[in-house]
């Protein structure tokens, strides 16, 4: 018995130039905020951008984007709806706001299903908001999307950076490209994380300040894009888009 889904995932992503998985060993470091804002920032720089929320047990990008009532179109697969200029895909289209008690095996199946049926079309960037940790979602994306690269998010905290260091080590061993590390929620600037990141030979993409306005801007994209947070993410977007023009 062969699983026909595995055969078409590559084809679904054939029109996507660059896949960036926003990831961290740790939860709560700002992956969802950064993934969403990065996607928006790239889109506003004229690129065609998709945003895929793969954090099935605690999806957050729909809250950040403030979207409701969106549904994919069904046409030879499913076509992601457009939200604030992004081709957007999230499990909330199906789980609505019910709890999603999914074991890893179910997460894995659901990811494969979505990757097999979603037609992204032509994109310059597909930004993926990953769940925390190194589990089914991370291992599946590495396995199923050979062109993927990772953007790792940490905070200045030692507990956060420790887990990110482990993620980076794993990615290096597997020869998965890492576009760089972002240090988020910085309150007291320090070069500790930067020097550790550079010490292991990975680009440090910048620090993002802790910005109390972020909370108020949840669900309001215009307001979000006016924050200092978005400004900092925008600089990272510019840098990334120079790497891959």
């Amino acid at each position: 018995m062969a699983d026909p889904r595995l055969e078409v995932i590559g084809r679904r992503l054939a029109g996507v130039k660059k896949i960036i998985a926003v990831s961290s060993g740790k939860g709560g470091v700002g992956k969802s905020m950064i993934a969403t804002t990065l996607a928006l920032a790239l889109s506003r720089r004229g690129y065609r951008v998709g945003l895929l929320d793969l954090d099935f047990t605690s999806p957050a990008t729909h809250v950040i984007l403030g979207v409701e009532g969106l549904q994919p179109e069904e046409e030879k697969g499913i076509i992601p709806p457009v939200a604030h200029g992004l081709r957007y895909m999230s499990i909330v289209f199906y789980a609505v706001d019910e709890p999603a008690p999914l074991r890893g095996a179910a997460v894995s199946e659901a990811i494969i299903e979505l990757m097999a049926i979603t037609r992204w079309g032509e994109l310059d960037y597909l930004v993926i908001d990953m769940p925390p940790g190194i589990g089914d979602a991370t291992l599946d994306m590495i396995r199923l999307t050979p062109g993927i690269s990772f953007l790792a998010v940490t905070t200045p905290s030692r507990v956060a950076f420790e887990t990110v260091r482990k993620l980076l080590r794993l990615l290096r061993e597997l020869e998965v490209p890492v576009v760089g590390v972002v240090e988020n929620m910085v309150m007291n600037p320090s070069s500790r994380v930067r020097s550790q990141v550079e010490g292991i030979g990975i680009p440090y993409l910048g620090a993002i300040v802790f910005d109390p306005e972020v909370e108020e801007a949840l669900g309001d994209v215009e307001r979000l894009m006016g924050t200092r947070f978005a400004e900092a993410v925008g600089r990272i977007a510019s840098e990334l888009s120079q790497q891959i023009p």
Binding site: M1, A2, D3, P4, R5, L6, E7, V8, R11, E74, E75, K76, G77, I78, I91, Y94, A95, V96, E98, P99, A100, P101, L102, R103, A106, V107, E109, A110, E113, L114, A116, I117, R119
Partner: protein, 135 residues
């Protein structure tokens, strides 16, 4: 009609396997359809037919339905999935992403969403038959 996307997978998997086995013609493709996903058989058949490649020009598509059997990890109860009493939206959700079963279905005995889909998930290429190259 997202069945098209799954049919596409079946056709390209069959093609790859035929090449590996050096078949010059595929005569039959057997597809197993798990009932959890509530695939529309006719649409799937249509999609398969439309996507035939020259190699499978005359192939017969045989579709087998596999009832969905669920087993509770908490109390051990086993039961069959029946889509009858689900609303339109829930049916749709499970149709696209069968794992949404864990969001909307519960064990009929203990109420847990922590069950396994023992059988009857997804669309599978069960087997192909064909004529060997040079044979």
């Amino acid at each position: 009609m997202h069945e098209w996307a799954l049919a596409e997978g079946v056709v390209s998997t069959a093609t790859r396997i035929a090449e590996e086995q050096e078949l010059k013609e595929i005569t039959e493709i057997t597809v197993r359809i798990g009932e959890l996903q509530q695939i529309d058989r006719e649409i799937l058949e249509f999609a398969l037919d439309q996507q035939r490649t020259p190699l499978m020009r005359n192939a017969k598509f045989t579709l087998e339905s596999i009832p969905a059997k669920l087993r509770c990890r908490v109390c051990g109860e086993e039961w069959r999935f029946s889509p009858d009493d689900l609303g339109e939206e829930i049916s749709e959700a499970i149709h696209f992403v069968p794992e949404m079963a864990h969001v909307y279905l519960k064990c009929p005995r203990c109420g847990s969403p922590d069950f396994e889909v023992v059988e009857g998930r997804g669309v599978w290429l069960a087997s192909i038959k064909g004529v060997k190259d040079g044979g």
